[in-house]
């Protein structure tokens, strides 16, 4: 295998930041395959990619991209390189065709070569029917395809893609993957950075990073091979699977565990130590069988294992007590409809979420998932139908309902300039906590989320994991009975994600009702029930297992949530590519 990029002892520090963004990284990118640059946000993926592209000068070490020095021979390198940053510079008001024209002009591609590449790329990306559509009106996945087409205009010899699948649903992700795979098979070296470990698992070669350090370079199978025999699944559980997971995570032999629909999946510290089902009180029917190890298991193993099963937060929380009549429908949507002009973003969506349930809202980009979510939590007035939380209509008695509602957004809406403590104090005050009660609650949150050492740090300067904890703390200041989570764990490392779900599982056991939207199919497995939205309609509702069954063919259920998702969406007429992202 020839080498496209060679990194030798590369270190990079940003001024004013103590920890290096990259710490003594040596690796190489082979030609002819997709190299996955894998790690959570803040691992150093983007920095590494920008160094390869010559957009940053490394503090130390040497880099050779296509045999060139990215800084000294930058001009030559750029002519041969395709780089797609996280936010690719598409001009939203220009059409797909005009964007291509523009990038062709910038690359000096004229005459016949130009029309030939347009024809080739429009066919390759299947964007031809949308040539005259403004780029701003494309879905997330189509935008990425257009970005890719623009990058490919120059016939690059090396392709660097920085998180191309962020904000892209499983169907578009698969499509994008197919396209890039085709390019790699043609001999083009490709670097694809991602924080999705399931995606990384499909790369023939990965560079696994965390905190600026390279943890592993090589084939992912080799890494997962080390985990062989350590992953197990427990099924036919009687009793609550969440408390079972909690007990399992507290057992010495278990390193990590997640919920998978009605089952739980555990990673053991040692292949020889099988957990004792009787001791875990899994029920008489329960079975335990080996599961296929995943890259995520290996990553968590390298990081030193997942968190324990206890949520200090949930332990301190007072149980949510609701009147009997209320328990069956804590969140209720009846015939919810939203029209933006002629465009119907959501049509007749209805569901009920009983107390203590985690309800997940899934769907492709622009399918109406966020629109529905926002209508239910009162951020968007519906055009028809109604939504209620705890039996209170959010349009008429908003303040009363909101006092009992917690909300955490994907972007962790915190005041970045304010310190951790000031953020907590603000949200406590906003929910009417004052005086000693406020002080006690803030102290409790700082303690529970281990934020005390960071109390005086501005929220912007926190590491992503701490930001997420702070956002959750702010959303829970007032002991809400209902919690709305909008893609709550995007980009955080799997250990932090485990910790987050440990808290959520704990809260649910205290009677909190949770509604969540997510692109992570793993996260969907934590849900008690899932509502799948496509083309503005709720096309399926059920437990993760039910959806997998419904998606299966010939009596075989779909193996993963992702397969189920894709199958169900395609069966409902496929993704409506024409829908803009709301």
């Amino acid at each position: 295998m020839s080498v496209a990029v060679e990194l030798t002892r590369v270190t990079h520090r940003f001024p004013g930041v103590e920890a290096p963004a990259l710490d003594d990284v040596s690796a190489s990118v082979p030609a002819g395959v997709i190299t996955g640059l894998v790690g959570p946000d803040g691992a150093g993926k983007t920095t590494l990619m920008r160094l390869m592209a010559g957009l940053l000068k490394a503090s130390a070490g040497t880099i050779r991209s296509l045999g060139l020095d990215p800084i000294g021979e930058g001009a030559q390198l750029r002519a041969r390189l395709g780089y797609m940053p996280q936010k690719f510079g598409l001009y939203e008001d220009l059409t797909v065709g005009e964007n291509l024209e523009l990038y062709a002009d910038l690359r000096d591609i004229t005459g016949e070569a130009r029309s030939a590449s347009f024809a080739r790329l429009l066919a390759f990306t299947k964007l031809r029917p949308f040539t005259s559509r403004p780029a701003g009106k494309l879905s997330g996945g189509m935008k990425q395809k257009l970005g890719l087409a623009c990058v490919l205009l120059g016939n690059p010899e090396l392709l660097l893609l920085d998180e191309p699948s962020v904000g892209v649903d499983p169907i578009s992700r698969r499509e994008l993957w197919r396209m890039v795979n085709e390019l790699a098979a043609g001999g083009m070296p490709v670097v694809w950075s991602t924080s999705y470990l399931d995606e990384a698992e499909r790369c023939p070669h990965i560079l696994l990073m965390s905190g600026g350090k390279l943890l592993y370079a090589g084939a992912p199978q080799e890494l997962t091979g080390r985990m062989s025999g350590r992953s197990v699944q427990i099924g036919s559980i009687s009793g609550n699977r969440r408390t079972l997971l909690q007990r399992a995570l507290n057992a010495a032999e278990v390193m990590d565990g997640v919920i998978q629909g009605s089952r739980i999946r555990l990673v053991l510290r040692d292949a020889a130590w099988a957990p004792d089902l009787a001791a875990l009180d899994a029920g008489p029917e329960a079975w335990l069988r080996p599961a296929e190890p995943r890259l995520e298991d290996a990553f968590i193993d390298i990081l030193g294992g997942g968190p324990g099963g206890e949520s200090e937060l949930a332990r301190l929380m007072t149980p949510v007590v609701l009147p009997e009549a209320r328990r069956a429908a804590v969140i209720e949507a009846v015939n919810l409809t939203k029209r933006f002009g002629d465009f119907v973003a959501a049509a007749g969506v209805g569901f009920r979420v009983p107390q203590g349930e985690i309800f997940g809202l899934l769907g492709p980009n622009g399918a109406g998932k966020s629109t529905t979510f926002r209508m239910v939590c009162g951020l968007l007035p519906p055009s028809g139908g109604h939504a209620s939380v705890l039996g209170i209509d959010l349009r008429t008695h908003a303040a009363a309902a909101r006092q009992r509602l917690g909300y955490m957004a994907q972007k962790f809406s915190l005041y970045g300039n304010l310190t951790v403590e000031q953020n907590l104090r603000f949200f406590a005050g906003a929910y009417g906590l004052s005086g000693a009660r406020q002080a006690a609650k803030i102290a409790e949150m700082l303690e529970t989320f281990a934020l005390t050492p960071h109390r005086a740090a501005p929220a912007d300067e926190l590491a992503l994991g701490f930001k997420q904890r702070l956002a959750l703390a702010c959303a829970l200041m007032h002991d809400p009975a209902v919690l709305f989570l909008d893609e709550p764990t995007s980009g955080v490392d799997p250990v932090t994600r485990r910790e987050f779900w440990t808290h959520i599982n704990g809260l649910v056991q205290k009677g909190v009702t949770v509604m969540v939207t997510t692109h992570f199919m793993d996260e969907a497995e934590y849900c008690d029930r899932i509502g799948l939205v496509n083309r503005g309609r709720l096309i399926a509702t059920g437990t993760p297992d039910e959806l997998k069954q419904a998606a299966g063919r010939d009596g075989h259920e779909a193996a993963t949530m992702e397969e189920a998702f894709i199958a169900l969406i395609e069966r409902s007429g496929g993704e409506d590519e024409g829908r803009a992202v709301a």
Binding site: C377, G378, A398, N417, G432
Partner: protein, 368 residues
């Protein structure tokens, strides 16, 4: 309710003052304008250049040339020797005004005839040139009057000038009160319009909307800090005007305070309205400018409102700045109290009411 409002206000002030960038945006313009404006934006003609072509060279002409050269307004005087040089110095903007003495100037004066002088003025700099010409005229007039008196004649009646409220026409007396208004405008709009847009961008605005805080409370939570900050800025400039630049303060301090609050409130109304139709800081910034530039142009600060066509006078009436400048000049120079300020206060109240309700309606509409 009050506790929640205080929480919002506290947050807003922390945000405005903790972030170095927004702190600079609030403090720097105040200091810079306070230092620059009173010196740079001078309306007096001080450093003008006068060109003189004396074709006569008689004693009378010499005397007049001496007087012109001694005038404080003309530190530099070019003495040119021919017509072409005079034209050139005006052409090349070396002189603002040129004065030409005809060859028979002294002879005509000696014969008791009237002796005309030619003045050439640079019309490209009409304003300063007119003022400079005024200086030349008054020097010539003084000289003529002296000669008349010396000859035992009667000087014909002349207009005697008294400038009320600003006897020496100190331009700073006129400028600084207006500056109080202009700088507060920036502060108020930044805090309201831009801070809401920033919260929208960062997602914290949604976080507020899903909390039990009502839209009215959220708006109030933006208005009060804007009021406090604008009030603080206005106070700094007003104090500097009084104690550093020695602008007399003849009116009532409470009246000034009340009007400042009222003005800040009307601006907050505009700021909230702008922010209710913007979703990004960039849009809000453009919105603030779209409001601010005409607001200043039509306020009477640049050109008197009375001279504008009726249509623009109408717009100026809605412009809170135009009323506040009148009030400020009144309070500083014309001993205004609340009663005298009232005719300009109620239009402020009216626009405030209008913009705040419009903004409130927009916010509500987005939510329910």
């Amino acid at each position: 309710m009050l506790a929640r409002l205080l929480t919002l206000i506290r947050k807003e002030l922390l945000l405005a003052l903790r972030d170095p960038q927004s702190r600079r945006l609030l403090i720097l313009p105040v200091l810079l304008q306070l230092l620059l404006f009173p010196f740079a934006a001078t309306l007096e003609v001080r450093n003008a250049t006068l060109a003189i072509l004396d074709n006569d060279r008689g004693a009378e002409a010499q005397e007049l040339v001496k007087r012109l050269a001694a005038a404080r307004a003309f530190p530099t005087v070019h003495l040119v020797t021919d017509q072409a040089a005079l034209t050139r110095t005006i052409d090349e903007q070396q002189s603002l005004v040129g004065v030409e003495f005809p060859a028979d100037f002294s002879r005509r004066l000696a014969q008791g005839e009237s002796a005309p002088l030619l003045a050439i003025v640079d019309g490209r700099r009409s304003n300063s040139a007119q003022i400079a010409l005024g200086y030349v005229q008054s020097i010539v007039q003084d000289y003529a009057d002296e000669r008349t008196r010396a000859a035992g004649g009667e000087v014909p009646s002349r207009i005697v000038l008294r400038n009320r409220y600003n006897p020496n026409l100190e331009y700073r007396w006129f400028l600084l009160p207006s500056l109080v208004a202009i700088i507060t405008t920036i502060g108020s709009l930044v805090v309201t319009a831009l801070s809401i847009a920033r919260e929208r961008e960062q997602g914290t605005f949604e976080q507020l909307l899903v909390s039990p805080l009502t839209p009215a409370l959220i708006m109030l939570g933006k208005t009060v800090p804007a009021l406090l900050i604008a009030f603080g800025q206005a106070l700094v400039i007003a104090l500097a005007a009084i104690f550093v630049y020695r602008v007399p303060f003849t009116g009532s301090l409470p009246a000034l305070g009340v009007c400042m609050i009222l003005y800040a409130l009307s601006l907050a109304g505009f700021g909230l309205f702008i922010s209710s139709i913007c979703s990004t800081q960039q849009q809000a910034f453009l919105g603030v400018f779209t409001f601010m530039v005409p607001a200043i142009m039509l306020s009477g600060f640049v050109a008197p409102v009375e001279n504008m066509p009726a249509f623009f006078r109408g717009i100026a009436w809605v412009d809170p700045l135009s009323h506040f400048i009148v009030i400020l000049k009144g309070v500083f120079l014309k001993s205004y109290g609340l009663a005298l300020a009232w005719p300009n206060m109620w239009p402020l109240l009216l626009t405030t009411g209008l913009t705040v309700s419009l903004a409130y309606w927009m916010f509500r509409r987005q939510l329910a």
